[in-house]
Amino acid sequence: MAALDELTDAYDKARADPEFFAALERLGREYSGRPSIMTEVPRFAQHAGGARVFLKREDLNHTGSHKINNVLGQALLTKRIGKTRVIAETGAGQHGVATATAAALMDLECVVYMGEEDTQRQALNVARMRLLGATVVPVTTGSRTLRDAINEAYRDWVANVDTTNYVFGTAAGPHPFPAMVRDFQRVIGLESREQMLALGGLPDVVLACVGGGSNAIGMFDAFLDDVDVRLIGCEAAGDGVSTGRHAASIQGGSPGVLHGSRSYVLQNDDGQTIESHSISAGLDYPGVGPQHAWLSDMGRAEYWPISDAEAMEAFRLLCRKEGIMPAIETAHALAGAMRAGQELGPDATLLVNLSGRGDKDVATAAAYFDLLPEEAQ
């Protein structure tokens, strides 16, 4: 609690300091390549009912995803409170890579906790983190995925709070993380809104994938007051919500407390967390940020379950039709766009947050589409 109180206090002070956000904006511009561009994808859009489809290209950020936006903010905050070591959890490895990158840039010691199963699924990102100077700790407890990595990171933080700040990767967890992560990711929605207005008007629908929900909340936040804009979060339905093998916390979970926030959780009748399943390591989490639970409950945003198969079809189409390889996480939002476009037809304009690129997923996708030479299988 002391660590959270201290972090809340530090963040409140930083938030009131224009220099803090000026420094963050400068890093965004000069280090990670903001603003990210907007790309219209007409050939992909033919598979989305002929609607106009625009992609917010967070995949083009330094390190390959939206994660860098949040990490630069939290790393700056770490320096500000005088701590010398950062820890992070990671699922797909994108947040871990971003944290390792920011730690290298700002001369911080970095330890990343990653479920052992994920270190195998995302071996490339493990190597990237190590090349950047971070220590990667494979977590062997529980389901050996993201949730166990979070458990281990908490334990490290509690034991080393004097020197260490926990750079949390998503808009879940205890206060102040959901609010702070949203604030650092808001830039996605703010830029997108301006870019869409310059392109002719607000979109009819905004889509983003939702695991913990950081890229989605960063995108949705700027559109909350635009009541005519539909907001659709795409959850990972794995083999299908009805099979029980999924990671769709809002569509297939129930209210509970996990990792310090009250939200929707995949749990059994005893309140024990159930293992989530998704082809995408980054969405393979049995909880979701509390802001999404609230947006769902109040009806401001819809949450659609997208199966592994639907996501992989969207992944394939974006590669083949547009020459853009999305992260498998992101492909869930693209599949949602295909469904929304087919429902709404050619007059609709869809904005998709292309939250990350697919380099890290080449091995998974090649295996899925059976493209590997026999001896590599």
Partner: protein
């Protein structure tokens, strides 16, 4: 006055610290875990802390997490905790449950409190619940006359120590080392400062957990704290032996060592 407070007052009057023993229900089986808890009382534990296994025990170390995973994998359910409490309470030792918040929430906070009270339990230690988020639990605990035991740590600010001391009844659980449960080589002087600061913040009884595993450590801690909470070192007695009888024998020996420790005879 609760049975827990009365017991702690009584032990204080004897000029010693209380020995509080933790074991999770369902390890290695529900039945054997109850035997193990009864054995602890026979061997000298004053107060029993019955752990409710949880899938994400972020404040426990590997020994307890492995035992909890085993218990859950072998079908331990939330309601199993109540017969365990009933059996242990029948020995005369005040019996509290340690539970993370979500299983209580899912069971129904008031329903949980009622079932626990009916089983003869005297309170709950809630490691991942802060007093300011605990209104629902505090209300239910008051309604069913249960003690509510919250945690403090060396990093706690004076404001938080006050808040926690005020919200807690029975005792305040002082987490003596920064970090998670698990037997440690030394208990550290931060523990003593924490106990004194918590008392200064208004707590009548402060019991210290996380790190004690030997009689010598218990004797050291007993000089300044009202009670010593031992968990991982006891669970280890059971995990180290494949036969439950050997495990119980090891448990008996360890508890006797710790019980001598809290009496200053390490």
């Amino acid at each position: 006055m609760s049975a827990l407070t009365a017991r702690l007052d009584d032990i204080k009057a004897q000029g010693r610290a209380a020995l509080i023993g933790y074991l999770p229900v369902g390890y290695p089986t529900v039945k054997d875990s109850i035997r193990a808890m009864e054995t602890m009382v026979e061997a000298g534990v004053d107060i029993v802390e019955v752990g409710l296994p949880y899938s994400d025990p972020v404040l426990d170390g590997p020994t307890i997490q492995i035992a909890a995973e085993h218990a859950l994998r072998h079908g331990t359910r939330v309601p199993d905790v109540f017969p365990a409490v009933k059996a242990v309470a029948a020995t005369g030792a005040p019996t509290v449950v340690m539970s993370y918040f979500n299983p209580m929430l899912k069971y129904g906070i008031d329903r949980f409190a009622q079932a626990l009270a009916e089983a003869g339990g005297v309170g709950v230690i809630t490691p991942d619940l802060t007093p300011e988020s605990g209104h629902e639990w505090i209300t239910a605990a008051k309604a069913h006359d249960l003690d509510r035991i919250f945690l403090v740590a060396p990093s706690s600010t004076p404001e938080r120590l006050h808040l926690t001391a005020e919200a807690s009844t029975g005792f305040v659980y002082a987490a003596s080392l920064m970090g998670v449960t698990g037997a440690r080589a030394s208990v550290g002087e931060a523990a003593e400062r924490l106990v004194l600061a918590t008392r200064e913040a208004g707590a009548t009884h402060v019991c210290l957990g996380l790190g004690v595993s030997t009689g010598a450590q218990a004797a050291q801690v007993a000089r300044y704290s009202d009670g010593i909470i031992v968990g991982s070192a006891l669970v280890s007695c059971l995990t180290a032996h494949s036969s439950i009888d050997d495990g119980l024998a090891a448990l008996r020996t360890k508890v006797a060592e710790l019980a001598a420790g809290v009496r200053g005879n390490a």
